[in-house]
């Protein structure tokens, strides 16, 4: 049952990624990889969240997986890695948190009620910091493979076993 729920979530992550891929007008040949990458990245994040890890760390891990997967797919489908990676990480954007932060900001601008103001302030700042750090880890995770291989173009990156 647990596994079924997880698979269902993966499916939704994949569909959301494909939706954005179509919105960004990606080549048709890259749609299937985007689905797979979106689903795997999202599942990584969900599983890590269920293990009660921090939401920022989980998102970073999901985005890193997407970043690494984008390199072999880029070789296979002859398209630059960002084309796969950007639509695939967008389902991980923290929409609800951003929405709560916005609501909080509006409440903060309203009348000051000394009893609840402190609580609203701390919740808003908490949500806002999470949103910011999650967005940064999304972008950072996608860039990790390029950063650690120190190559200018993904075409030069080869993940192959070293010959003995």
């Amino acid at each position: 049952m647990e596994l079924l729920l997880l698979l269902e979530k993966g499916l939704w992550f994949g569909i959301a990624a494909v939706g954005f891929a179509v919105l960004f007008n990606v080549p048709v040949r890259t749609l299937a990889p985007v689905f797979i990458m979106g689903a795997l990245g999202g599942l990584t994040k969900t599983i890590m969240l269920q293990l009660e890890l921090n939401v920022i760390v989980s998102t970073l891990a999901g985005a890193t997986i997407v970043g690494f997967l984008s390199i072999p797919f880029a070789h296979k489908k002859h398209a630059p890695p960002p084309i796969f990676a950007i639509p695939a990480v967008i389902p991980m954007v923290p929409g609800i948190l951003a929405y709560r932060m916005m609501l909080g900001l509006i409440n903060l601008a309203g009348e000051v009620n000394p009893e609840t103001y402190q609580q609203i302030l701390s919740e808003t700042v908490n949500n806002g910091m999470k949103v910011m750090l999650i967005l940064m880890s999304l972008a950072g995770g996608v860039g990790v493979p390029m950063l650690i291989t120190r190559k200018e173009s993904a075409k030069e990156i080869r993940f192959k076993k070293r010959s003995r």
Partner: protein, 270 residues
């Protein structure tokens, strides 16, 4: 006819020199490629790499000043001392990854098969004429993506249906507003307003606390993913100025989305 010729000769006094001609044609083609990459959503590092790759294969060294709305290019041949210097203003931005992948593929073919400028221009013409996805497919798939977001946030079936309808109509409104040449931020505002107004129906009918997800996730198709991610990759690349500008653009879009949501909330009195 004769007058035109003399005029041209006055502007380009040495146009009997073939290399001088080549550098002019190549320079404007390179600027065209850079501008296309910029509006299609490439990061600054990618633009610079692509331009350098192509100009290297022709034996010129290229230097660029890249900004959001204008590109400046200087190409230079060390042997002959010829150079070309020009500016180009980019058209309004619209993410188009087919263009990005097509140009990246082309740049490698240019290096490997030694294309000439005419071939490049023909390929650019072909890439520009490539069709987008059919409109109904875009609208429905993005609608499905919205429903998926809603499901991931914990919405029920009714919420998902309303988010689908909201996203579908919101994106439709945005496309129509773009056609009517509204300010791009205004287009986002209209779209956010329409989709949150539709997706707010479950929350208005039922209780707000259980249907909040539909309302919040209906505008997620508008999030400026490409500007924000490009902003970050520009910044860690050292292109701080471009990164800041792209980030600011993404921030304004987010703010506009929030304004659209606020208008719906005001109407529904949440």
């Amino acid at each position: 006819m004769t007058k035109n010729l003399t005029l041209k000769e006055e502007i380009l006094p040495m146009n009997n020199n073939p290399e001088k001609d080549e550098i002019h044609v190549l320079g404007s083609t390179l600027l065209e490629i850079g501008a296309l990459l910029m509006v299609s959503g490439a990061s600054s590092g990618r633009i610079r790499n692509t331009i350098n790759r192509i100009s290297d294969s022709f034996g010129y060294s290229a230097d660029m000043l890249i900004s959001q709305r204008t590109l400046m290019l200087n190409i230079y041949n060390e042997d002959s001392g010829h150079f070309f210097n020009s500016l180009k203003r980019t058209s309004p931005h619209g993410v188009n990854f087919v263009m990005l992948s097509g140009i990246s593929r082309m740049s490698w073919l240019i290096v490997e098969q030694k294309w000439n400028v005419k071939q490049i221009n023909e390929e650019l013409k072909r890439l520009r004429s490539l069709p987008h996805y059919p409109r109904m497919i875009i609208l429905s798939v993005v609608g499905l993506a919205g429903a998926a977001f809603c499901r991931l946030a914990g919405g029920v079936a009714f919420d998902m249906v309303m988010v689908f309808i909201g996203t579908f109509c919101g994106l439709f409104v945005r496309q129509e507003a773009m056609k009517m040449k509204f300010n791009p931020y205004m287009c986002v505002y209209f779209a956010a307003f329409v989709s949150s107004l539709l997706a707010g129906i479950p929350a208005k009918l039922g209780s707000y606390d259980t249907h909040e997800h539909a309302f919040a996730t209906s505008v997620l198709f508008l999030i400026p993913g490409v500007p924000l991610i490009n902003s970050f990759s520009d910044m860690i690349d050292g292109n701080l100025q471009n990164g800041l500008i792209r980030g600011l653009n993404g921030f304004i879009i987010s703010f506009t989305i929030a304004l659209g949501l606020l208008t719906s909330m005001f109407i529904y009195q949440f």
